[in-house]
Amino acid sequence: MILLHLPALQVVVPLMAAPACVLLRHGRIAWALALVVTWTAFAVALALLLQVIDSGPISYAMGGWAPPWGIEYRVDTLAAFILVIVTSIGALVVPFARASVEREVASDRIYLFYTMYLLCLSGLLGITITGDAFNLFVFLEISSLSSYVLISLGRDRRALTAAFRYLILGTIGATFYIIGVGMIYMVTGTLNIADLASKLPAMADSRTVHMALAFLTVGISLKLALFPLHLWLPNAYAFAPTAVTVFLAATATKVAVYVMIRIVYTVFGGPAIFEQMPIDEMLMGLGMLSMIGASLVAIFQDNVKRLLAYSSLSQIGYMVLGLSLANVSGLAGGIVHIFNHAMMKAALFMAVGCIFYRVGSVHIDALAGLGRRMPLTMAGFVIGGLSLIGAPLTVGFVSKWYLIQGALERGLWPVALVILASGLLALIYVWRIVEVAYFRPSPDGATEIREAPLSMLIPLGVLCVACIYFGIDATATMDLATAAAVELIGSHP
C-alpha cells in the first residue's frame, strides 16, 4: 500500500518536516529531524529507482485526479536518477552541516536553517518528480525562495547582496518560465507534460510555440547559470554558509539542467525541434563559452569558494553541451555528468568547509601548509580536484569520455578539443591550490590547526569513495544515463 504512494511521500515528507522544524525551535532537535527526513527521502528515492528499473515509468495521480486534468507525478528513468542524486547529496550534507552550521550561522537561527534546507530539498524533489508544467513553476519558486534565505544566512554581509541579486535574477528567470508555459498552454490547452509532448509536435511551426521555447530556454538558462546569465552565482556560492554552498552547488543548478532536458526533449520532442529553431547550436556555443571562459576566470580567483563557484559554471557548460549534442552518447554524457559533478563538487566544497571550520578563512594564502596539518581533508580535495580535471579512474573521466564520443559521432572534433582544453584549464586552478597546500610552509603560530571533526570528514570520505568507485566501475551510472537518454531521444542511433 505504502509503496503505491512513494512518489507523493518523496515530496510530502520533507515539505511537512520543514514547518515542524520551526515549531521545534531548537537547533539540535531540528537537525535530528532533518537527518531522519533526508535519509528517509533517500530511501524513498532508491525504492523509486528500483521500481522504475524493474517495471518502467511510474505515473501517480495526485489526490486521485486522473491526468491530464489533475496533477500527475511522473517518475521515469531520468527523474528517478535525478531524485537519487538530489536526495543522496541532501542526506550527506545534513551530518556535515551540524558542525559547519554551528560555526557559520548565528545560533538562534540554526533551526530556521534546517527549515529552509528541508523546504529547498522538497522544492527540488518536486521539480524533478512533477509531470505538470505549472506545478513545476510552483516547486521552482519554493526551492528558489528558500535558497535565497539560505544564502543570506552567511556571516559576511556580502551574502545579503548576493542573495538579493539572486532573488532578482532568479525571479526574472522563473517569470520567463511561466510566460513560456502560458504560451504553450494557449496553443495546446494543457499543462500536463506528457500531454504537451503528444500535442505540441503537430503545432510546432506556429510563432507562439517558437516564442514559448525562446522564453523557456532563456528562463531556465538563468536558473542554471549558463554564460552570460551566470552573474548571480559566484557571489552566492562564495558567501553562503558552506553547507548551503555544498547543497546548492551539487543539486540546484543540476535540477535546472534537468528542467532544460525535460522541456527541450520531452515537451518539445527533442531533435525534431532543433530543425525549426537552432536551440542546440546556441546552447552548444554558450556551453563551450562557459567551459572556457569560467575556467579562465577561476584561475585568477584568490577566494577558494569563489574559485570553485567559477569552476561550477564551467562544469555546467559540459552538461549543457551534452544536452545540445542531441545524440545518445552526448546526452548520456551530460546526464551522467550531473551525477558525477554533484559528487565531486560536493566533495570539494565539503573540503573547503572543513578548512574554514579550522582555519577560519577560505583565502588561498590561508591554505599554506594544510597538506600536513589536515591530511585527510586535503586528500579529499585532491580527489575532487582530479575528478574536475577528468583524470582517469575518477568520475570526471567517464563523463568527458562520453561527451567527447558524442561530439565525434557528430563529426564535431573542435568541440572535443574544447572539452580537452577546458580540462587542462581545470588542471591549472586545481594545481594552484594543491601547490599552496602541500609545498608552501605553514605560517608561524598555526600549530593548533588540526584535522576537522569526524562528522564532517565522514560525508567527505563517502563522496570521495563515490568519486573513485563510479570512476572505476561506471556501468551502474552509465547504464542509467544511457537508458534515460534513449528514453528521451527515442531510439539508439
Binding site: V138, R157, R158, T175
Partner: protein, 118 residues
Amino acid sequence: MDVPGLYNYWIVVVLMMIGFYVVIAQGNLVKKIFGLNIFQVGVFVFYISMAKVKGGTAPILDGGIEVYSNPLPHVLILTAIVVGIATMALGLALVVRIRDAYGTIEEDEIETQEGELP
C-alpha cells in the same frame, strides 16, 4: 497588424517592459523590487487575457450560463500572485537587512563599499 483587437496583449508587453526596465536601470533596491513586481503583474494580465472567451461570462455553475471564460488560468495566476507576494516580501526583508549592514540601499554605494573589502 490587429492592434485594437490585441489591446490586452499590447498592455502586457508595455507593462513587462516598464517593469523590466526599472529592474535593470534603477539603482535603488526598493525600486528594483517594485519593477520586478510590475514585470510579474504584466504576466498575470497575460494569463487572465488568454482565459477570456468572446461573449463568455464568469465561470459560475448555474443553469443559465453556457459560454464562460476558462477558469484554469485564473486559478494558476492566483498561485502566481501568492508566489509574487512571497518574493516581494522576501526581497523587501533582504533590503532591510542590507540597509542595516551597509547603511544604504543604493546599488552604486553598496558596490563602492564592497570594492574596498579584500
